[in-house]
């Protein structure tokens, strides 16, 4: 049990996909215009990551080595399509906001990376825990980045405006702010959390 618990906590700091492994940069930068958007994107990726990890660890023994990448991609694409249907049905507004980056979960290197590095060598339950851990790590990073950008860019947190009016620094909601915030957050992460 402690082993599985460790798999989950590893994804948060030691194997943090955003700050340590530097994977999945595109959705990280593009969808974190606010904390809520970042959180939703993280949860969407978490959903695909857990399911695809489980499915791939189950089918890995029977997939021929030569075609394993295309097979994995089709499995991942299937779960992404499922997610698209679910989001269109239950959270249409969020589906519109995240837009292109929902289908692009297919090419998020975190998902394929975990399939290659972990799921095809481990059991279904362990793979689910690994997916959960890495997914949670990704969700946390995205939420933090979204929160920082939202506070600086629009003076609110999780949609709650605390400066009154709309006097945020617009650049932080737009493209440059994404890069700058991520860069400085990485610096802080390197300095205080990463163990060498």
């Amino acid at each position: 049990m402690s082993n599985k618990f460790k798999l989950i906590t590893d994804g948060l700091v030691k194997n943090n996909p955003t700050f340590v492994l530097l994977l999945g940069m595109c959705p990280t930068l593009a969808t974190t215009t606010s904390a809520i958007n970042g959180l939703s994107m993280g949860l969407a990726t978490l959903f695909v990551l857990v399911l695809s990890n489980m499915a791939i660890s189950a089918i890995a023994p029977v997939v021929p080595d030569k075609v394993h990448i295309p097979v994995y991609i089709v499995v991942i694409a299937t779960f992404v399509t499922l997610l698209q249907f679910l989001m269109q049905a239950y959270t249409p507004a969020m589906y519109e906001t995240l837009g292109l980056f929902i289908p692009l979960i297919v090419v998020n290197c975190i998902v394929l990376g975990r399939a290659e590095a972990f799921a095809n060598k481990h059991g279904v339950l362990e793979s689910a825990c690994d997916g959960l851990g890495v997914g949670l790590g990704f969700t946390c990073s995205l939420t933090v980045l979204g929160l920082v950008r939202e506070i600086l860019g629009s003076g609110s947190a999780f949609g709650f405006n605390f400066i009154g009016g709309n006097d945020g620094m617009l650049a932080f909601v737009m493209a440059p702010g994404a890069f700058l915030c991520l860069g400085y957050l990485m610096v802080l992460f390197n300095k205080y959390l990463k163990k060498n």
């Binding site: 994977l23 940069m25 990448i69 992404v80 399509t81 698209q84």
Partner: protein, 199 residues
């Protein structure tokens, strides 16, 4: 006139890396040296244009008539994976040195979200300056090609900056990727000056 607007919009105003955040992983990965950056941009340029052509035709003549556009994601990614495999085989024969230089990043074009992103954008995005809003085949190809030129432009500029960055002494916590990302941020700030030129 539309073609001109498409080109300006795709290269400068909505630059694929600096405004749309697509293809960041290889952008950070191979921009250490100017020569690999150029090679990678050419490979991406070729794959994006070819992939857009094929996915456009598949969408128009296969997915739409049969009413199965929800299979778009799966169909597109399979086509792109096959194309990249083909480019890899051709490049291995034609230019082994470039093949060596691109290394792991060539197969990774499959998971370069720029390629899938452009293919999906062409099918779903509305362009205000195009009559009817949606791109036809010719416009789609121009859009894809111009977008990949924008990718190359950003990549080459950034590789130039990074070559200089490597010679400087930066604080330990900033070393490597963080300082690179902060530099991209400043570059993006410069490109923000183009916003509003084309609606």
């Amino acid at each position: 006139m539309e073609y001109f607007l498409i080109i300006i919009s795709a290269i400068f105003v909505n630059n694929i890396v600096l405004a749309q955040f697509l293809g960041i992983c290889p952008f950070l990965g191979v921009s250490n040296k100017l020569s690999t950056a150029t090679g990678m941009s050419m490979a991406v340029c070729f794959v994006i244009t070819l992939a857009t052509l094929v996915t456009y035709l598949i969408n128009q003549y296969l997915l739409v008539p049969f009413g199965i556009t929800f299979l778009q994601t799966i169909a597109f990614i399979l086509v792109i994976a096959a194309l990249v495999q083909m480019v890899e085989i051709v490049l291995k024969k034609v230019s082994p040195s470039l093949y060596q230089a691109l290394g792991i990043f060539l197969p990774l074009i499959t998971t370069n979200c720029a390629v899938l992103g452009v293919a999906i954008n062409v099918e779903t995005k509305e362009f205000a300056f195009v009559p009817g809003g949606m791109l036809n085949l010719g416009q789609a190809l121009v859009y894809a090609f111009a977008t990949s030129l924008g990718y190359g432009l950003a990549m080459v500029i950034f590789a130039g900056i990074r070559e200089h960055l490597a010679l400087n002494n930066v604080p330990k916590a900033f070393k490597g990727v963080p300082i690179a990302i902060i530099s991209v941020g400043i570059l993006a700030l410069a490109f923000m000056g183009f916003s509003g030129m084309v609606k």
